[in-house]
Symmetry: C2
C-alpha cells in the first residue's frame, strides 16, 4: 500500500492555537536550503551567528546559549537533567500543565521535588514560593514565565530574591515568551532558561533554545554523577557548539537554518517593537472577545499577550466550534488542557501571526461559530477591536 | 551586531561524507510546506501514512514504529532507556564509535554493561558475542548493523540465536542501513531498532525512526521504574502516535513532512532496487579507489555499500585533501573518528547521493587531491569505475 501514497499537500491554515504558530515565509524557505555537513566551515559560521542572535533574543551574555536538538520539552528536560543529581531538592511553581511537567521531569532525574501549587490561570506569587520552601535549601527553583496551558504570566524577576534566600539556581520556562513578551535573562537573574521555536519566533517546532548562566554552568562542571541523558548532556553538546567543534550528534541542519532566519527576522524588527506589536494585537483581541460576551480566564495584569485563554460559554460545544473554524475558515484555535479541557479555548497571536488580520479573522469566525450555536453576542466584536486599535 | 546579519546563503555541496547526505529535492520542498497543528486531522492522516511507510521500510509489522523527535542519537537513547532499568545486564558489541556510544548510554541508564570488543573495521561475530556473554542472562543484546565510523556490516540475524540463548531482547543500530542496505527487522528477529533520517533516506537530520517488537513492547509495559527520560518515554510518545492522539510534546511538523516525502520516494523506487543501486555504485567506487592505490579498510564481504572507509596513504595530509575537495569541488568526504582520526576517510554514497555522477566526481576530485600531494596513482580510476559499471 505504501507505494501508492501521494505527495504531501497540507492545507494552509491560520494557526491561532497555543503553537505551532504560522512560520514566517522566509523561515519556510530557509528550511529548504541545501543541507551542509555539520562540520562544514560554512555551517560553523551559521552556528556562530545563530548563537549570537539567540543571546540577543534572550537578553543575555551567557556563553552557554544554544539550540537543543529537540522540541521545547527536550529543552525542559535538558535544563533539568544537566543540573539535577539524584537526591537534589527542587522547588517547582505549578500553576498549569508545564509546571506539572517540570515536576515529573525532575522526579525522573532523581530530584526530591516540592511543588508550590498555584491557581491555574493566575500568576505564581513569590511569597507563595517562599512559603512552600519552608526555609529549606534547594538546588533549583523552577517557574514558568508564560504558562501556555492557562495564559498566565509570572514575574520571574521577583523569584530571584527567593532563589537567593534558598541558595538555589533559578530556572524559567520561556517557551511562549521568547520573542513575544519582555524577557531579560541577565537583568532578571535567570540562571537557566529554555524555549521553543514554534511560538513567538515563528519557526516550526523541532528546536529548543537554552541558556545557562556562568553559575549554572559551574553547577554542571561540579556534578558528581554523569548526566543521565547522553543526548542532552550539555557539556558534550557545548563542545560541539563551542570552539572545540567536537562531533557529538549530527546537528539538525535545516531546522537550524529556519531558526537562524527566524531570529534574524525578530531582531531586525527589534525586540521592543515586537513585544509592543504582541501587546497591541492582544488588547484588540481581548476587546473583541469581551464584546462576544466571553470571559477571559486570566486577570488583565497577569495575562500573556501571545496567548489568551477564554472560557467556553455554557451550552456551547467546544469541539464543534473548533471544527467549524477549521472547516469554514481553515483557522485553528486551541482547546484546554488538564482541568481546562472542554472549559477553555486558547487563542495564540504569536510572532508573525500576531497581526490585525488574524485578530479580526478570529473574531469573525468565533462570532459566526457562537451565533450558529445560539449564543447571543454582547456587542459588535469588530467595532470593539477597531476601537482598541484606534485607541 | 545581530541586527545586521544577512539572510542565509549556504553553498550547494555534494555531500559524500558519513551523513548528512544530500536530501532528495522533493524532500527539501516538503520541509517548506505550510505548518499544520500537531492535532490537526490533516496532520494525523500524514502521521498514519508516515508510520505505515516506516514499517514497510523497516520490513516489520511492529505497531510501535514511529519517528522520535531528535536525531539518530536520540533514537539510540530512546531505545535503550525505555527498555533498561537500573541494574539490568546489557551486552553490547563494540566494533566502532557507535557501539561505544551504546555502552555509554546504557551505563547512564543504570545498566551493568558488558562490552564485547571487536576489531574496528570488521564485522562483529556471533561467536564472539556468545563468548563475551559467559552464559549469564542478559536483558538486552545490542549490535550495530552498519558501523558508520568504520564501514563494517554485521550480520544481525546471526545474533538472534545468541540473544535467545541469553534470554535477551535484540537491539540493532540501523542508522546507516535503513533504506540503503538489506534490512529485515521481522525476518531477522530484531526486537528494537533505531535509525536516522540523514543517511540512506535522503532527508535532513532531525528525526530518528524507531521500532519495537511486541516482545520489546511488553518489556516496556512490565517496567517497575519510570523511564528516566520523560521526553523519550515511548509509552507516552506512543499514545500520541497511536489511536489515542494524546498530546505529549509538539511534534516537529515540517521535519515530519520531509520524512514522509523521503519514505515515499524510497518505497516508490522499491527497497530491493534501492539496495541494488547502492551496491552497484559502491562497487564502482571501490574499483576506482583501488586504482588510486588506496587501501579499503573493511574486507569486501563485510563492507557497507552506503559507506566506504579508505586508508589515508602515508605522506598525504588528511585535512588538506578534504579542504581541497571542499574548496575546488564543493564536495564533502568524512574524516575518521576515534582511533581512525587522521588515518581514514569515509566516503558515503547514501540514498539519492548513491549515483554514478557522484562516484566519478569523487574519484576525479580525490585523484586531483592526491596528485597535488605527490601521491602516485596505481591506475586510471575512471577506467576502473567504468569497467565496474560495464561488468
Amino acid at each position: 500500500m505504501s507505494q501508492s501514497i501521494a505527495p504531501l499537500d497540507p492545507p494552509t491554515r491560520v494557526l491561532l492555537g497555543p503553537g505551532p504558530s504560522d512560520p514566517a515565509p522566509g523561515v519556510l524557505s530557509a528550511l529548504a536550503r541545501p543541507t551542509l555537513g555539520h562540520l562544514d566551515p560554512a555551517f560553523i559560521a551559521i552556528m556562530d551567528e545563530l548563537c549570537a542572535m539567540l543571546r540577543s533574543a534572550f537578553r543575555t551574555q551567557n556563553e552557554l546559549t544554544l539550540p537543543v536538538s529537540g522540541t521545547g520539552s527536550a529543552g525542559m528536560e535538558a535544563c533539568v537533567v544537566n543540573v539535577v543529581e539524584p537526591g537534589d531538592a527542587v522547588l517547582v511553581g505549578v500553576n498549569g500543565v508545564f509546571g506539572k511537567r517540570l515536576c515529573e521531569v525532575a522526579r525522573r532525574a532523581g530530584a526530591e521535588v516540592t511543588a508550590c501549587e498555584g491557581e491555574w490561570g493566575r500568576a505564581l506569587q513569590a511569597q507563595d514560593v517562599r512559603r512552600a520552601a519552608q526555609g529549606r535549601p534547594y538546588k533549583l527553583v523552577c517557574a514558568v514565565h508564560a504558562e501556555t496551558s492557562t495564559g498566565a504570566r509570572t514575574d520571574i524577576a521577583a523569584l530571584r530574591p527567593v532563589a537567593d534566600e534558598l541558595g538555589a539556581l533559578l530556572l524559567a520556562d520561556c517557551v511562549t515568551s521568547l520573542g513575544g513578551l519582555p524577557l531579560e535573562l541577565d537583568a532578571w537573574g535567570v540562571d537557566i532558561a529554555y524555549s521553543g521555536t514554534q511560538k513567538c519566533l515563528s519557526c516550526p517546532p523541532g528546536l529548543a533554545p537554552v541558556s545557562f548562566s556562568p553559575r549554572a554552568r559551574a553547577a554542571l562542571e561540579q556534578r558528581k554523577t554523569p548526566v543521565q541523558s547522553w543526548y542532552l548532556d550539555l557539556s558534550l553538546v557545548g563542545n560541539y557548539w563551542g570552539s572545540e567543534r567536537t562531533y557529538h550528534h549530527t546537528a539538525p541542519i535545516n531546522m537550524l537554518y529556519g531558526l537562524h532566519e527566524a531570529l534574524r527576522i525578530a531582531l531586525a524588527e527589534g525586540l521592543e517593537a515586537r513585544w509592543q506589536r504582541h501587546e497591541r494585537n492582544a488588547h484588540a483581541l481581548w476587546a473583541g472577545l469581551e464584546a462576544l460576551g466571553l470571559e477571559l480566564v486570566v486577570p488583565a495584569e497577569e495575562r500573556l499577550t501571545p496567548l489568551t485563554s477564554v472560557r467556553i460559554p455554557a451550552g456551547v460545544d467546544d469541539a464543534r466550534v473548533r471544527r467549524f473554524l477549521l472547516d469554514e475558515y481553515s483557522l485553528e484555535i486551541g482547546g484546554g488542557l488538564g482541568p481546562f479541557q472542554g472549559q477553555v479555548w486558547r487563542i495564540g497571536l504569536m510572532g508573525t501571526g500576531s497581526n490585525r488580520r488574524n485578530v479580526e479573522l478570529c473574531l469573525a469566525g468565533l462570532s459566526a461559530a457562537l451565533r450558529a450555536q445560539g449564543h447571543a453576542l454582547l456587542a459588535d466584536p469588530l467595532a470593539a477591536a477597531h476601537a482598541a486599535y484606534a485607541g
